[in-house]
Symmetry: C2
Subunit: 219 residues, 2 copies
Amino acid sequence: MRSYGQYCALAKALDIVGDRWTLLIARELLLRPCRYSDLQAGLPGIPTNLLAGRLRQLEEDGVVAVDERSRYALTPWGEQLAEPLQALARWGAPLMDEMEDSETFRSEWLDFPVAFIFGGTDPDRPPLTVEIRADESPVTMELARGEVHFRPGAALSPDLVLTGPPAVVVGLLSGRLDQKHAEDLGASVLGDLRPLSGLRRPDWLSGPEASERRTRMKR
Amino acid sequence: MRSYGQYCALAKALDIVGDRWTLLIARELLLRPCRYSDLQAGLPGIPTNLLAGRLRQLEEDGVVAVDERSRYALTPWGEQLAEPLQALARWGAPLMDEMEDSETFRSEWLDFPVAFIFGGTDPDRPPLTVEIRADESPVTMELARGEVHFRPGAALSPDLVLTGPPAVVVGLLSGRLDQKHAEDLGASVLGDLRPLSGLRRPDWLSGPEASERRTRMKR
DNA sequence: CTGCATCCGGGCCGATACTG
DNA sequence: CAGTATCGGCCCGGATGCAG
């Protein structure tokens, strides 16, 4: 990508990761180190030449490192992209209200908005283990000591198991849907939902329609 | 921009703001509401048709609103881009070590990395007012109650006045340069630098060369 | 002068084919 | 499995035009 030519930290960050697909590559590598084919699988639709080119550039810039068996992983600096990516995902979370048929979904992607929604408010709050079954492969979310951890696979002894279509499970996690509505939409809830509500950031919501709604109320 | 077609909060955020120049437009609008020409001035090099197109799209997506005198401003949702932008700027801050001659600079841009570096650690810490003179127009940074505020113009009674080339002033703010080195590089410091050090986030540094440095030390 | 729209050359993007 | 090669098309960048 052509540089913006500005002595500005944001512009310089975008000089590195502002290209199309680049931040999504970082998303995949934040979940786990990846081989080339893993990245292709996690980034449906990416042209192979573009993936190769991005990886070369990211390696040159010190964001990504390749080991001897051509496995790609983030450098320490690259791992620090977790914060901006989670913040961006949180900003985009209000767009998750419904899932289009044309959209692809992987339950690991839930990591990003959810890590922000439930992240770091109170280090003394009670721990909670939630198993999420929104596609073929379950994922487990562990909340403990103010930290959020996602890992693939089912939980050994979950406090809560959420099963259902992705958009409905997201609605439950975000608090947009209550249990009754969610079950009407095809979800099933095993365990008690109430502990979740105390663990959310208070300010997580308010999407693009918020302003519309307000102007509409003015009339 | 073409959609990534993923039911993923990050991908959906990038569907909206992932285009080239878009996040820099948001940066300018976070600093203040802008007229079209203000945006052109704050985004050197942006093609005029592209700016017009981006603004139209951002308005359609509910990120930007235009008033009757064609002044552009962020919607409430758009203002929430402050967090991801500051996080990205913080990620890019290690690239600010030196300024190329070809790069343009505006002191207002310091808001973004600096707001993150000094932001929100302890609400009880002592307030501090710093006047920064790194180009024609001074800016003032106010630290109080764990919040960071930037505003254009000089300070009434600053605790600290930093004057010098942008990269040197950035080095002082970030702590990369001490007073002596900074003065050798053309900066002047009025007041006591020491209070700054206690106000920085402890983990703000470590850029792309960190891993290189470490491997070099291994040899 | 401000606030765009139009036009055009070049490069990046996207899809497919192909190779060690 | 891990990419490279190729090619059409669209987006980006720069210049210019033009209405209020």
